[in-house]
Amino acid sequence: MKLFVDMKNVHYTYRQSSPDPLLAVNDVTLNIPSGQHVAILGRNGSGKSTLARLINALEQPSSGIVIVSGMNTADEGCVWEIRRLCGMVFQNPDNQIVGTTVEEDVAFGPENLGFPQSKIRQAVDASLAYVGLSDYAQKQPHLLSGGQKQKLAIAGILAMEPSCLILDEATSMLDPVSRRDFMNLVQDLVQNKGMTVINITHHMEEVLLADFAHIISDGKIVASGIPAEVFDRVDLIRSEGLDIPTHTEIAHEIAAQLKQNLLPMEAISWSGAQQAILRMLAAAKLQQQPADLLADRAHLSGSIPPDEREPIIEVRDLSFVYSPDTAMAMRALDHVSFDVFRGEIFGVIGHSGSGKSTLIQHLNGLIRAQQGHVTVLGMNATANVDIRKIRRHVGLLFQYPEHQLFEETVFQDIAFGPRRMGLEMSEVEQRVLKAAHIVGLKDDELERSPFELSGGQKRRAAIAGVLAMEPDILILDEPAAGLDPAGRDEILDYIANMRDAGVTIILVSHSMEDIARLADRILVLCDGHVHAYGKPSEVFSDESSLEAAGLSMPRSTAFLNDLKQQLPALDNHAYQTKQAVRNILQAGLSCQNAKECDQI
């Protein structure tokens, strides 16, 4: 097998001559055969992006050797040919577009390579057609969606006639639909064009598409193998702060609870996990499991009894049109009505462009209603009242809120809101400390510059900045976007803390998993109108309806639905792993009649 990348004992140190050098890549030896689809996994800061840059000759190793397609990246003369062969797609779609029109951007690479004009033309047209953006050739890139921008990046690379594609967290800022679309394109490149693909990611679904996977931790490769082998090492993956496919996780959890063992790679596939669970349940029945396993079945949902609910936000018949009465008029909201109750986590979900962002801006008066009513805490947010009164009660955090940090220290940044409210200094300080505590920021972090913090810490600092204003309602737009799985879990846990601290939360996301995990009630938006609205059990009862809105079931619910066909007693209303495990054990170990038990 011909090797495309051949790395031997590679080290890479940032700030080599400074007093605190950082060893990002530590003795990595890595082979990637031509035409292979490789996934490289690791938490943020594990050195995986540096690895990509070493392959692309954007960095040269401090020691060791990197050979790409027979060329040494340390050889000055080969650098440009290596970069032509290995195209790179980066994380932020906006920051890799050079051209002012789509076509000009695709031409940028071939122009740099000095292709003759006729060849550039051909390459541009063919690449745009391949990624499906031909109709947009003359458009300005900032008008494209995130998914389209990343496809544009691929087109720009294809036009350079590469043989390898390096994706550096290229899908982390995309919504699930665009991500699937993008990965389909990548799969096609591997299968039909024989392209070598190196995908640096922390999305497990993408890893399952790969032929081979490597896990990197602190600059070292700690596991390698086909994806099934890698995912079988559940404990390692967990300790690396990465995700395991939901069905695999459920099977492993059940194995642990029943004190049984899974066979190697038994629970990697969807059906494999089902069979494994049924096998373990049957074995457990023979062994007469102790009854106390079932005793721990406390009801999970913390929702408030219906008659005690107090509506804190009432939205009635809300409609909104951007640029009305012009050719560009666009309807963003169409007769939307719903209530949010005090003390709940209210999930708002919908695909990109479904109107989520327009909707939440109505709730604190950043946008005034054109038609319909918004009542917040009994105040009318539609009429010309002093909107600052409402903003004081409604905190709003947009996507990537860390981009709005500006003060010298984290403390001062968190204090900005409370100070603007005209509070006493002692009160401000008290509130800052309380908010920092809720989101898990330590005291020494408060005195640091917000720009020195890690991505997850910055995000929590930004959230604290709004929490410190002690709003009754906190609106969070995609709070986990762009974080690695460990960072995401942390943020979601702190959101649950906030609810426990008495804040009503409106959680906006396109991730079904995040919403399902936390929300007490859910609003599904599709093309500006209410597609579904109610408790998770109601919203998730109709799979085809969800798919029509461009969304998918939570993985755990989908898994239980399938399992229910073989285990009729199963309660399939579970939206997270723990609950799913509980339901399976309950159904599997306490089946009501002999006929059902026989089926196991």
């Binding site: 906006d94 002012t100 000009e104 122009e111 004009q117 709005q404 900005f416 603007r420």
Partner: protein
């Protein structure tokens, strides 16, 4: 609020003006600028207006769109108008208390405002509304090419300009987003005195600069990854070609400009 700024935004189309060689457009807009400043009689100024209107019609850019590009400079227009109106000496037309408006003042005020308006409309129309920034940059590079001999970095200048223009809409969107986010934290950009407003801007400018620097860093890496290494050996998708259309248009336009100057000075 930010999205209304059209200055510097390309208006897609396929009119004669869109197709014209950008070098011709740059040269012509410089000539037209000179004509605007050399005319001060009513008739030639009307002719300037007619020529501007003709260009608008040829470009097929809606007039409303062009007028909205004047919004950002409305303040300057009014300022120039008012200053001239009250300061230029002449026969008083109207006296309110101690201030007098003279016929000379009114005339100069109208002239100044009209000049500014023609200037903005013609340059935005020729250079930004109908020409993509990359083409403008390309044309500037070509026109400055002779200066490369004295080591003038013509290619780098052009590349900087086109990237700056490419990021105008992106940074405007970002500014809008940051202002909304800070408003949600109690920042207030609409009320208060000038000092309070200037202080308020800090809350926007710092995050904006931080993000712009980050973008610059990432873009530089992305450009390197796509084999960018300066102007040497670079080819173009769109090779500028001064064709018959461009020659005819240039001649017609220059004749019109000369005619206006003749009316002015003869």
């Amino acid at each position: 609020m930010m999205k209304q700024i059209t200055l510097g935004r390309y208006y897609p189309g396929n009119s004669l003006l869109h197709q014209l060689d950008p070098r011709a457009k740059i040269i012509l807009s410089v000539c037209f600028m000179a004509v605007i400043f050399l005319t001060d009689q009513p008739l030639p100024m009307i002719l300037v207006a007619v020529l501007t209107l003709a260009m608008i019609l040829i470009s097929r850019v809606p007039i409303r769109h062009i007028l909205s590009s004047l919004k950002p400079i409305l303040f300057i227009l009014i300022f120039a108008f008012v200053i001239n109106l009250f300061t230029v000496q002449g026969d008083p037309l109207l006296t309110i208390g101690s201030v007098a408006i003279s016929d000379q003042g009114l005339y100069t005020a109208i002239r100044m405002a009209a000049r500014l308006m023609f200037l903005i409309i013609s340059t935005t129309l020729l250079l930004t509304l109908t020409t993509t920034p990359i083409l403008v940059a390309d044309a500037i590079e070509r026109l400055l090419n002779p200066l490369k001999r004295i080591r003038f970095p013509a290619h780098e200048m052009a590349m900087m300009m086109s990237i700056a223009l490419r990021f105008v809409p992106t940074l405007l969107e970002e500014t809008d987003k940051i202002m909304k986010a800070q408003s949600s934290r109690g920042a207030d950009y609409d009320t208060g005195n000038l000092i309070a407003k200037a202080k308020g801007l800090v809350t926007v400018l710092i995050p904006l600069f931080v993000s712009a620097f980050k973008r610059a860093e990432e873009l530089a890496v992305a450009m390197e990854a796509r084999c960018y290494r300066g102007g040497e050996g670079r080819t173009r998708l769109k090779i500028l070609h001064y064709g018959p259309k461009d020659i005819v248009f240039t001649i017609v336009f220059l004749i019109a400009c000369t005619a206006i100057l003749l009316v002015q000075y003869l």
